[in-house]
């Protein structure tokens, strides 16, 4: 990644052809399926720009973790919400680094807020 953009809405998009190419060669990661997350990753990791990172082969479904997506990531450490910022192909064409922005809210808190929003006042 270059310097971290100040804009929190920044996303480095990838084209559909690249997503289809990688979805065809990457199977669902067993641990992602087992613990029910979009992608396995460690919330402690930080790259040089302060973003979290993991690898695309840890995804449950490649098409769900494209840049711009909000995902549930997790490991033995717990589950966390994150926004996918970019796929970084510097080290691999077939298994890019997935650059993530950890969101400062918990999955439970978001679920509770969404449940309230679906409740209409009597």
């Amino acid at each position: 990644m270059a310097d971290r953009p100040a804009n929190p809405w920044y996303v480095r998009e990838v084209d559909d052809e690249t997503v289809e190419r990688l979805a065809a060669i990457i199977d669902p990661h067993p641990r992602a399926v087992e613990i029910g997350v979009d992608i396995v990753g460690d919330p402690h990791r930080e790259d040089d720009d302060g973003y979290n990172w993991t690898r695309l082969h840890y995804a449950r479904n490649v098409a769900d973790v494209t840049p711009g997506s909000v995902v549930v990531m997790g490991s033995r450490v717990g589950t966390y919400l994150a926004k996918v910022v970019a796929w970084d192909f510097e080290v691999s064409d077939g298994d890019p680094i997935v650059t993530l922005n950890l969101l400062p809210v918990t999955p439970d808190a978001v679920q509770r807020a969404l449940a309230r929003s679906r409740t209409t006042a009597a």
Binding site: R4, I25, I26, D27, D42, P43, H44, R45, E46, D47, D48, D49, G50, T54, R55, H57, G74, S75, R76, V77, G78, T79, Y80, E90, V91, S92, D93, G94, D95, I97, L102, P104, T106, P107, D108
Partner: protein, 163 residues
């Protein structure tokens, strides 16, 4: 299927000029209830780092980064201020930079975040060498966990249920 790696393509980790003072409290890891799982998590994280990153050691060249991300607790800050970002984890491990160094680990000042460091679990590995087996990295992770003592309840964990 795990895609094959692209040999020789690696990232060079940015190092800041100075490591943490000896008396800095380091959040080594937010952890699950099981210390065995925490140890395994640390070992796997270091392997993942070494698969991608090198760092430059002056006079020696590039070294594979078997690193574990840790966060300094700023002086005067309470643990909850650092742990809020790890609210899904019931426990945490903490140690001073001095204790980590005395145990033989280097604490590298990595990345742009001034509070972020990597504890180097295994030193001196050539980036061109194959990755070490998990069992070997796990032995080093056990040494690091031993430095921290017992896991402490995470005050940011909701409800205070630390099962």
């Amino acid at each position: 299927m795990t895609p094959p790696p692209s040999p020789g393509r690696r990232k060079l980790r940015m190092l800041r000029p100075q490591g943490p003072p000896d008396d800095t409290a380091l959040l080594i890891r937010a952890t699950p209830a099981s210390i065995d799982e925490a140890t395994l998590d640390i070992a796997e994280d270091a392997l993942e780092s070494a698969a991608v990153y090198d760092f430059e050691r002056p006079g020696e060249g590039r070294v594979a980064l078997y690193g574990v991300s840790v966060f300094a607790r700023p002086r005067g800050a309470s643990p909850v201020e650092v742990l809020r970002r790890f609210a899904s984890s019931p426990y945490y491990l903490e140690a001073t930079a001095r204790a980590v160094r005395v145990a033989g680990f280097e604490v590298l000042p990595t990345g742009a975040n001034l509070d972020h460091f990597d504890v180097l679990l295994l030193d001196g590995r050539d980036p061109d060498d194959p990755l070490l087996p998990l069992t070997e990295v796990r032995v080093a992770a056990e040494r690091l966990v031993a430095v921290c003592g017992d896991p402490r309840p995470n005050p940011a964990y909701p409800g205070g249920s630390h099962g």
